[in-house]
Amino acid sequence: MNCSWRVTTCSQATVALNLLRERKGCFDVVLSDVHMPDMDGFKLLELVGLEMDLPVIMMSADGRTSVVMMGIRHGACDYLIKPIREEELKNIWQHVVRKRWHENKEHEHSGSLDDNDRNKRGNDDAEYASSANEGTEGILRTQKKKRDMKEEEDGELENDDPSASKKPRVVWSVELHQQFVSAVNQLGIDSMNFSLNVAWLLSWLLDPFLTLSFWSSSSEAVPKRILELMNVPGLTRENVASHLQKFRLYLKRLSGVAQQQGGIPTSFCGSVEQNPKLGPLGIFDIQALAASGQIPPQTLAALHAELLGRPTGNLVLPAMDQPALLQASLQGSKCISVDHGVAYGQPPMKCSTNIPKQFPHQILSTEDVHSGFGSWTSHSLCTLGAGNNPSMLGAQNGNMLVGMLQNQQRQQQQQHQQKPSMLTEHSHSINVQPSCLVVPSQSSASFQAGNSPGLVNPNGNFSRSSVIDYSIPVPQSNNSSFVVGQLSNGDLKTTGVLNRYSGPNSISPSVSSSSVNADNNAGQKAHNLTTAFTAGIQLPGLVPNATEYQGSSNGKSTQVLDQGPLRNLGFVGKGTSIPSRFAVDEPDEPESPIRNLNHPKFCVENCGKNVKEEPHLDYIENARVGTPILQHFSPNDLMSVFSE
């Protein structure tokens, strides 16, 4: 009975989650009830598994097979049925050890891992989260563990210290995760359904480096293939498999979060109607696109609103997770600066240098940029365009883009009707925000830093622009390519999360580039993404570029190259010149964009060395996030959901 475990109890799941997040390295296992007043136990289970990768043991008086199955499906290490016997509790250590050993094995094979210092000398911490009403059990456990603690010297079997055989486990660092994501993107997430699409979208919005290229899937995203694509020495298929599983859960969770955010679909659709023609393609247009797309309008709206800091009262937006949205807006901020430089390929674009300052309004403040496009207001993140028209560059682009967007809207609207929202219902409101989502918080800072100097170059070259990765999805109805922009910033490298680029001239070839192919089977998804990305991301100029780029068979790509540095889809790092990703010369193959990406012209400048902390701070300053959750943010938190 002498387990020598240090126990921390909480009677509220939300409290427990916060505790776990604050003290990530302090706990070894989590014991949680299934039925709790403030949060579903399975939800907590998922969150803990995703964010902290701790073994979670469920317990309940409810021993029905279906419920136990649910526990397993959500990733529980074990499911204890009340009354819980002491022997069962004594055996909890096996879950901790098992996990450690697996990680150690993984680590042996993997090459680039941090040493996760989880050494706990002789004391395992078990955290119990039990509902208030389960006070009896909670106290029971507490008492038991407390008294067990008193007898540390006995050195019982349960006191087995996994740290003795501890080796660093596979740590899904930001780089690694980015590689993973890009590999997955190339392959496409199999079993894609709508909710996952949305989830992808959300994750993309929240993490610009998560380029989504569903349509580019030519093969399934199975761990083996992912592993091959990632090409990381020492990484095993098992590592990838488990990470993939977590990732899927994460996405699902995101889609669930989105679903929770109430909805204003009607308002969106309404605005769509009101803006039949693209005037200043502002928020409303974005909304329209979003609404017409298959992404839950409310989700997009929320994201958009948040990104834009709810500038207008017209936007009736549900209160989305502030942190998530902030993150998204961070992304947006990054994108915006890029957009300025890139998208329009227009010479001195008035880069709104005030973007960094007003974080919430960053996206909005790009009105001036679109001088060339007239009606377009640049909204960062991504341009989604169902670009049929390759030749959208230049001043004409505005109109064309408008047309395109409208086209797209229509298509999407049709599609939207065809496909009801598939987001699953979530009966529980999530109190716990995905605060650990990967967020390039530094992006805003970096934007600030490099904002004026780099964004727009008189000759349209980005000297210090953010990396934009646009992949162009191909809507079904037309063969335009879908551009999914991804904004990465050289500074982001510091954050690690978005740090796709390991070297100055290296551009991770995955993701975006590969997405540029006219793969119609992804049309449906493309639509989703398109609309999704459009929300808040408008990058009109990019659309056309994407199209031309995609073809690589048409000669218009040169046009692209000449015009805007970032116009296209490449990763443009700070200080890089435009990715000649869209170099026309490329042979007509799916990988051509990738090759372009690796164009020597690229020089991803790591401007962010000094801003590792600053950006974050700036972000916080500018974030104006009212939610207390923000305080939980830390650069580490924002780093990555999946890394330790």
């Binding site: 009830d33 039925h35 009354p83 009896t136 029971l140 008492q143």
Partner: protein, 145 residues
């Protein structure tokens, strides 16, 4: 004298408990609870059982209110209460109470109001019996201390 008295009280207590075990009112979980009590937490069982009583009474009251309501239809909520009761009762070692709760839950899953009413009756009876007996045990154990 005192020693004898203590022993006798303790014997009484044990006798009571043994009886409860025989009757199936308590099961081995209660024994585990007892084992948790030691010098560092001398009143462990007493505290835990009291907590159990307090919570259970609330739950029972809720169940009763729910069922006796004419327009009762929220079997789901009843199921939630029942789950809690089952969990806490079984963790205490109150076997019979938790068995009745299980049956109660089955009836509620079938949305059978008469079944639930009957189960509620039995449940309340079992609960009262358990409470009285345990109060007795504690009283005895308290006086022996």
């Amino acid at each position: 004298m005192l020693g004898l008295g203590e022993d006798r009280l303790r014997a009484d207590m044990n006798r009571l408990l043994t009886l409860l075990f025989h009757q199936g009112v308590l099961d081995e979980q209660f024994l585990q609870l007892q084992q948790l009590q030691d010098e560092t937490s001398p009143n462990f069982i007493f505290e835990v059982v009291n907590i159990y009583f307090n919570e259970s009474e609330k739950l029972l009251r809720n169940l009763r209110d729910l069922l006796l309501d004419r327009e009762f239809s929220d079997y789901q909520r009843m199921g939630v209460h029942l789950n809690q009761l089952i969990g806490s009762s079984s963790s205490i070692g109150a076997k019979r109470v938790s068995n009745v709760c299980v049956a109660f839950r089955a009836a509620s899953e079938q949305n059978s109001r008469p079944g639930c009413l009957r189960a509620l009756e039995v449940l309340e009876h079992e609960y009262c019996y358990l409470k009285n007996r345990l109060d007795e045990v504690f009283h005895v154990s308290k006086s022996s201390n």
